[in-house]
Symmetry: C2
Subunit: 347 residues, 2 copies
DNA sequence: GTGAAAGCGCTAACAT
DNA sequence: ATGTTAGCGCTTTCAC
């Protein structure tokens, strides 16, 4: 039992393919009776249109390709949820691919996705190698680079400056009186944005004549367990730190648990600072500092830009939307409470 | 500058469309020189094949449709990562949709995905309403219902019994000497699997002549913050519980943090039990009980089944793969020490 | 308001 | 080893 085609539905309803097509798409100029007859036939036959044919014929698709590096960190699913929600009601459909932080795999996934002729593509970060950039440019569709701003965008760009986030956090922590800093991170050669935060943090430390007293970076991906393990080791070696900066909140939470296990007072003795502003952080048994990255909002804004660009808005290309992360969890420090993101045009 | 078609590449290389097609797909019977000439032309022109045309013409796609209820709980992204990894190298591509725990939205998403003529579809749970089931059956492709086993499968089924997981946990906790139980959950009318766990848990309690001394169920989705809030309220009302069962580990972790804030000893005074075996649980400052659900493995197995079914394996339909969650975090209780989840077939 | 013809970009099947 | 013909299922365009 093969699936019914539009033609079969049309025959069943006693009309031509064309009329059936119009009726099912709710075109204005089809008589009410005809329309009802067609719809009845389609329903009875469990007709499901063939989008391959539709898109090939009409030369447009409702597909928005999205490539993220990972699904193991809640951050990216949240971005995807934002994109998906932002696309809701537009008739567009997001298609997700996972690159595993691998540039070659990312290139292949992008190539594969482009072959489906998406109407737009959203990728993570702006550090794609030249070959991938060329691929993206040749596609001739809106390209959105998401989550990061530190680099040269191809087309649209939505995100925050990770270098800036690191700088701001360092300033806040030094301002809070901390001087003996440690750094705990993971997979920095893959997670480039974490590296940019670290670099920004160090720039500010140096400007104060300070530096990381101790650093510990593992090859594995970030996790609470890893953060805990590295922190236990670091505090065994260098007990007199007064602040540890982590590559993200997962690692930082592990750091907090390590301190609790060692009986080290947080934040009195050691201040723990991460990045992301995960839900988790608000419920932890002790306060840790973090920069809140608006993950869902970035996804929603990206979806919004896609909708505008696809709708053909003139000013919907070559634009950059800047988010500013808000720092929380540092006693006495108050960062412009929940300031909304600003969108500024690029020169 | 429109995108080049196969025909244009063929002309450029001085051959026919067909030869170009064969050359690019690596068909055996194309002379080496011709192949190289075609590939060179395609590369130079940045040719990207049009999968719409390919799939329409060849009557097959490499798309595997996947529908999950949410992206806000790390559990589903982990399943997706498993599916994606399991599909790697097969040439198949997963396409994800999010239903937001809404059956109507799920139906629409499934309909939309089916219109792309996927070669298989994976959905979450087996509680789809009749209309959705009909849609799935009419698609005439392998259907995999994932994560749950408690119900009647349409075709393939991979998961664990949530009712059974609740029962096992209750038996383990009663066996550990607990008697005064509380229950803290959320969104049970949407998260049916959590409801099944609760029901299973209660069945066993009743068989021991026990019951939940107190229950607290919120409409909002599960989160650490919600688990903490509900637990604080419950312990204020009923301080003499000796165990609380939560709808999942997020809620349970919040419960632990609530206990810590109140100075209630965990697990000595109150035993906290959740579900999922999240990474987080292993790093928490106090042990909590949980049933480890093999999320990534379920995704990988589902992908495996899809590959077999699409490859046309005869025994690749109407099959059920059963996973057995392992209970951890109960002192003195050892559930087949880290035995790999068994996948066994059901008649 | 409805229909017929042409074609989207590719591959399957059959030439040669 | 290469080319030709005929679609795949739909929409676009133009006719009536």
């Amino acid at each position: 039992m093969r699936k019914p085609t539009l033609e079969e539905v049309a025959i069943e309803a006693g009309v031509s393919k064309m009329t059936a097509s119009r009726a099912l798409r709710g075109s204005a100029d089809v008589s009410k009776e005809t329309r009802e007859r067609v719809i009845e036939a389609a329903t009875r036959m469990s007709y499901v249109g063939n989008r391959l044919a539709l898109s090939l014929s009409s030369q447009r698709t409702n597909l928005v390709a999205v490539v993220v590096p990972s699904m193991s960190n809640i951050v990216f699913p949240e971005v995807l949820a934002g994109i998906s929600a932002g696309l809701d009601g537009s008739g567009m459909q997001a298609v997700f691919g996972i690159s595993d932080y691998d540039v070659a795999k990312e290139r292949d996934i992008i190539r594969d996705m482009l072959s489906w002729q998406p109407c737009a593509i959203i990728v993570t970060g702006l550090d794609q190698p030249e070959e991938t950039v060329k691929l993206l440019q040749h596609a001739n569709i809106p390209v959105i680079q998401l989550m990061d701003l530190d680099g040269t965008p191809i087309d649209l760009n939505v995100g925050l400056s990770h270098g800036g986030a690191g700088e701001d956090m360092a300033r806040a922590l030094v301002g809070a009186g901390r001087r003996r800093f440690g750094y705990v991170g993971s997979a920095l050669e893959k997670d480039l944005r974490a590296g940019k935060r670290k670099a920004g943090f160090e720039r500010v430390l140096h400007s104060y004549g300070l530096h990381f007293v101790n650093q510990s970076v593992d090859d594995a991906f970030s996790s609470i367990a890893l953060g805990k393990r590295l922190t236990l080791a670091m505090l065994a070696a260098v007990p007199d730190l007064d602040c540890i900066y982590y590559s993200n909140d997962d690692m930082a939470s592990g750091g907090l648990f390590a301190c609790m296990e060692l009986g080290v007072a947080v934040p009195e003795k050691i201040l723990i600072a991460g990045f992301n502003g995960l839900d988790l952080v608000n419920s932890l048994p002790a306060p840790i500092a973090t920069s809140r990255s608006p993950r869902r909002a970035m996804g929603e804004v990206a979806a919004q830009l896609v909708r505008q660009a696809v709708a053909g808005a003139q000013d919907a290309r070559q634009k950059t939307v800047v988010f500013k992360p808000v720092i929380t969890g540092i006693d006495g420090y108050d960062d412009a409470p929940d300031e909304p993101e600003t969108a500024r045009l690029r020169p």
